[in-house]
């Protein structure tokens, strides 16, 4: 400041800006070069999702009756939470549905992308001290953050443009301006969360802390919007406190207005200004909020590999239970409306009939069965993730230290798998009973608690096969542990579309879920359940045998 006043010949603002922003251009090129694949995958996935959503709604919900069935679901509390404020609910065409329901998920995906991008290129760089090298060069103080945000804006612009074009191209009756309303509105709303991440990157010392805090802000925005929209159709005052609403309230495809987007722009400007002020006041590598120290001594329970595995896995388990539990609870609350909606769907659309069956009296139960399949698949995914933890421990080099202690290989692997399996069981139980609780809470009691319990017990061995397969692959071919994901994908395709594709019998039989008795409908064939148990057991035994005899991979 004093330097600026001492040199009146210079234009103060330009001198200051030029000083702290020097090098932004080259840093932007560097960011784009470094993240060209990452950004391309994000952009590609989101644009593809716009296309898929448009296509699916156009084909499955083609006629007005099916559209109104969907609209009815979107008027339920769960529909509002997972959807939007409900503009245009009387004439629920594809465009209206995307604007009402799609924006929530688009903003979620784009906000996560924005937060990760900003943290990755600012605080995480500083933390790893790579940024120290860069900042020592001819680069201004604000240049790294500016470059990170500028490249993010660029990426969001490309996504918004391509997304709108794809919607117009794929959809049958989609206007470009309204499509842009959806994509630009979503992009701007997501950028607000990117700007939130910029602020947290100044406050927090560690990248993970900044990411977590920014995601928490998104979570809060999600809840505020949902709570606000629940109060009245079209949203209440409360809704407007959430950046999510600023995209939804543009009323694309109903009565497009652009001014809510200005709220996003204003918020972004304000947050970036705040970030710049904070950045000027802090030291390199420092944060405004000092990071909390942990405990100097381990708690008494930490005295074996089971305790350690639990400490490592409890975070993912708690969050998965919370997230999936709420999702399946919400699905349960949809049950009364779902029968009607699917009934309309099936009469109009033979493809839907092949997925849900065509006996109208059991449609609700069939739908619940399909949802159970989804829930079990999610748990299978979880089983593969936690089942592959030993692999992560090995490639990170931690297993070497762990096995240099008086812990045998079997005990080490057994501890990790025991916690992983227990977590998978808990998650499946939370999912299934979450659905039951949701259905019961809205008075849908076609199926008793016992029927849900039976579904849980019959699905369990099939889900555990995924844990066991991952463990066996880890023991015998650690590099091929990822193959377990192929089985998840295969099980999904067979379970959802096997009948549609008219697959041969043996192809069905390769899917572990095909051996699970259809929930709520058939009598349980316990021989099949026993067979699934046996397969899981054999794979687990193989895992132990293999891991006891092989070399530990070293870095």
């Amino acid at each position: 400041m004093s330097a600026v006043t001492a040199a009146p010949a210079q234009v103060p603002a330009a001198a200051r800006g030029g000083g702290t922003l020097t090098g932004t251009g080259s840093l932007m090129r560097f960011v784009l070069r470094r993240d060209r694949v990452r950004l391309a995958v994000w952009a590609g996935s989101v644009v593809l999702f716009y296309a898929y959503f448009t296509f699916a709604l156009d084909t499955v919900f083609a006629d007005p009756a099916a559209q109104q069935g969907r609209a009815a679901v979107m008027e339920t509390p769960a529909g509002i939470v997972m959807g939007g404020p409900g503009y245009g609910i009387d004439d629920y065409t594809t465009g209206v549905a995307i604007a009402n329901e799609g924006i929530t998920w688009m903003v979620m995906a784009l906000a996560i992308m924005s937060i990760l991008h900003v943290v990755r290129h600012t605080r995480a760089e500083e933390e790893s001290s790579r940024s120290e090298l860069v900042r020592a060069a001819v680069v201004g103080r604000h240049a790294p953050a500016t470059a990170a945000f500028a490249t993010l804006v660029l990426a969001q612009a490309v996504i918004a443009l391509l997304g709108a074009l794809v919607m117009v191209g794929v959809g049958e009756d989609m206007g470009l301006v309204d499509s842009l309303g959806v994509t630009v509105g979503s992009g701007l709303s997501a950028l607000v969360f990117g700007a939130v991440a910029v602020v947290f990157c100044q406050l927090m010392e560690h990248g993970r802390g900044a990411t977590g805090a920014s995601l928490a802000v998104f979570g809060l925005a999600f809840v505020v919007r949902a709570a606000g929209d629940m109060r009245e159709l079209g949203g209440s005052t409360l809704s407007w406190f959430s950046p999510l609403a600023w995209a939804q309230q543009m009323r694309s495809f109903v009565d497009l207005r652009w001014w809510p987007a200005l709220l996003s722009v204003a918020a972004i400007g304000l947050l970036l200004w705040l970030g710049a002020v904070l950045a000027s006041r802090r030291d390199f590598g420092g944060g405004m909020i000092a990071s909390r120290g942990g405990r100097a001594d381990a708690r008494p329970m930490l005295r074996g590999p089971v305790a350690l595995a639990w400490l490592q896995q409890r975070g993912p388990l708690v969050w998965s239970c919370l997230g999936l539990g709420l999702m399946w609870y919400a699905t349960g609350t949809l049950m009364p409306e779902i029968g009607t909606m699917i009934g309309d769907l099936v009469t109009e659309n033979p493809a839907a009939g092949q997925i849900f069956g065509d006996d109208p009296s059991v449609l609700g139960v069939t739908f619940l069965g399909v949802m159970l399949l989804f829930a079990a698949l999610c748990c299978a995914g979880y089983a593969v993730v936690v089942g592959a933890r030993p692999k992560g421990e090995e490639s990170e080099g931690r297993v070497e230290l762990a096995l240099s202690t008086p812990v045998s290989r079997s005990r080490w692997l057994g501890s990790n798998l025991a916690v992983a399996v227990a977590g998978t069981v808990v998650l499946l139980a939370v999912s299934v009973y979450g659905m039951w609780l949701g259905a019961v809470s809205v008075g849908w009691d076609d199926q008793a608690f016992g029927a849900y319990s039976q579904a849980l017990v019959t699905y369990l061995p099939a889900v555990l096969i995924f844990s066991a397969l991952t463990a066996a692959l880890f023991a015998w071919a650690p590099r091929a542990t990822g193959i377990a994901w192929a089985l998840v994908a295969y099980t999904f395709v067979v379970g959802m579309f096997g009948d549609v594709f008219d697959l041969p019998q043996w192809a069905f039989r390769l899917s572990p879920f095909d051996w699970v008795p259809a929930p709520f409908t058939a009598d349980v064939d316990w021989a099949h359940v026993g067979g699934l148990c046996a397969v899981a057991l054999v794979l687990f035994v193989l895992a132990f045998v293999g891991f006891r005899r092989r070399d530990i991979a070293t870095r």
């Binding site: 933390e127 560690h206 993970r208 990071s291 120290g293 942990g294 405990r295 100097a296 001594d297 381990a298 708690r299 930490l302 005295r303 074996g304 350690l308 400490l311 490592q312 975070g315 990170e396 080099g397 931690r398 070497e400 230290l401 096995l403 240099s404 202690t405 008086p406 812990v407 045998s408 290989r409 005899r549 092989r550 070399d551 530990i552 070293t554 870095r555």
Partner: protein, 336 residues
């Protein structure tokens, strides 16, 4: 404590702490160990020297039962490192060269976890070690620098009273001050009767504390013995300022790398001489009118250079500087 001491003494008569004979281990077509012999006597500190990729870590991982040997015999504290891994690991502590810690544990928690698995940890001893190594135990492992992660593993190893310490390049990432603390701890452990296998490519570190040294290259031991015995095999470095013309000395048997520079009125001469020829060379130097004279025993750097010199030379690293002694060797070894 007493039981440990007794068991150590009873063992010393029975078997060495580490006994490797003709050990082979291949990874696919790569031969990592090719007939390695290595012995660590009970209560001894054994240095295990070699450049990166020589097979030091592979040998250590076989000793820990992490890798299965292809052939050869390996005995650790009188047991089989693969079959008796758990029982043996109760009596040893290991520090890898690149410590990776559990990201959601603090340093203090990681130390307690590792120490508790080996037995009852001593809180006072932990506090003392934390202070000596100047380590903050309350930080999460993911925020530690490489040197601090190394300190966590070192504290965890020294906090347990064990019979054998297996240290694989344990000081990488430590500053010289902390290296000194480490050396001091190692001496204390040795005084308590602990056997130590210390792998390193930092030669001065080994020289400071080790009783015996094994030099390994391409998977096999090329030299092993006590430091004194190995020195016997090598040369001394001589620097002298003489009045006469020293060029005749260059032609004497056993004299290598002679270089001269003008130094005031005399000539500064530096050369290496085989210790066996020293008796003949000294009088010849004396005859030239000596103004100053220094002769240094060979450092381990020089032992090392003898065995890896050809390799380094092939890589374009100067094997011998202009009389600057160990410095080029040091930097050459460090760069590898």
């Amino acid at each position: 404590m007493t039981t440990t001491a007794t068991s150590t003494t009873s063992r010393s008569a029975a078997a060495p702490a580490v006994e490797i004979h003709d050990l082979h281990k291949s990874f696919g077509t790569v031969r990592a160990l090719d007939g390695l012999d290595l012995t660590v006597g009970t209560g001894q500190v054994a240095g295990f020297l070699g450049p990166n990729g020589a097979g030091k870590s592979t040998a250590i991982r076989v000793l820990l039962g992490l890798l299965r040997s292809d052939s050869g015999s390996v005995r650790l504290l009188g047991g089989d490192p693969w079959r008796d891994a758990v029982a043996l690991h109760r009596r040893l502590a290991y520090v890898p060269g690149d410590v990776s810690l559990w990201p959601n544990l603090t340093g203090g928690e990681a130390i307690d976890y590792l120490a508790r698995l080996r037995g009852r940890p001593d809180k006072r001893r932990k506090a003392e070690l934390l202070e000596r190594f100047e380590l903050d135990p309350t930080k999460k492992a993911r925020t530690y620098s490489k040197g601090n992660r190394q300190k966590v593993a070192l504290v965890a190893a020294f906090v347990s009273q064990v019979d054998l310490l297996v240290l694989d390049e344990p000081t990488s990432g430590l500053d010289p001050l902390m290296e000194a603390v480490f050396t001091e701890q190692l001496r204390e452990a040795k005084a308590a009767g602990t056997s130590v296998l210390l792998s390193s490519h930092i030669l001065s570190e080994v020289e400071k504390v080790c009783d015996t040294v094994t030099i390994i290259r391409a998977g096999r031991a090329v030299e092993s013995g006590t430091l004194d015995a190995l020195r016997h095999l090598t040369r001394s470095s001589v620097t002298a300022v003489v009045e006469g013309d020293p060029s005749a000395i260059a032609a004497m048997p056993g004299v290598h790398d002679l270089a001269t520079t003008a130094d005031g009125e005399g000539t500064r001469v530096t050369f290496d001489v085989d210790n066996t020829e020293m008796g003949r060379v000294l009088p010849a130097v004396g005859a030239l009118g000596v103004r100053s004279f220094t002769a240094q025993p060979p450092s381990l750097e020089e032992l090392f250079m003898r065995h890896y010199g050809d390799e380094l030379a092939a890589d374009g690293v100067p094997v011998r500087g202009d009389g600057a002694g160990a410095d080029p060797a040091r930097s050459g070894a460090g760069a590898r």
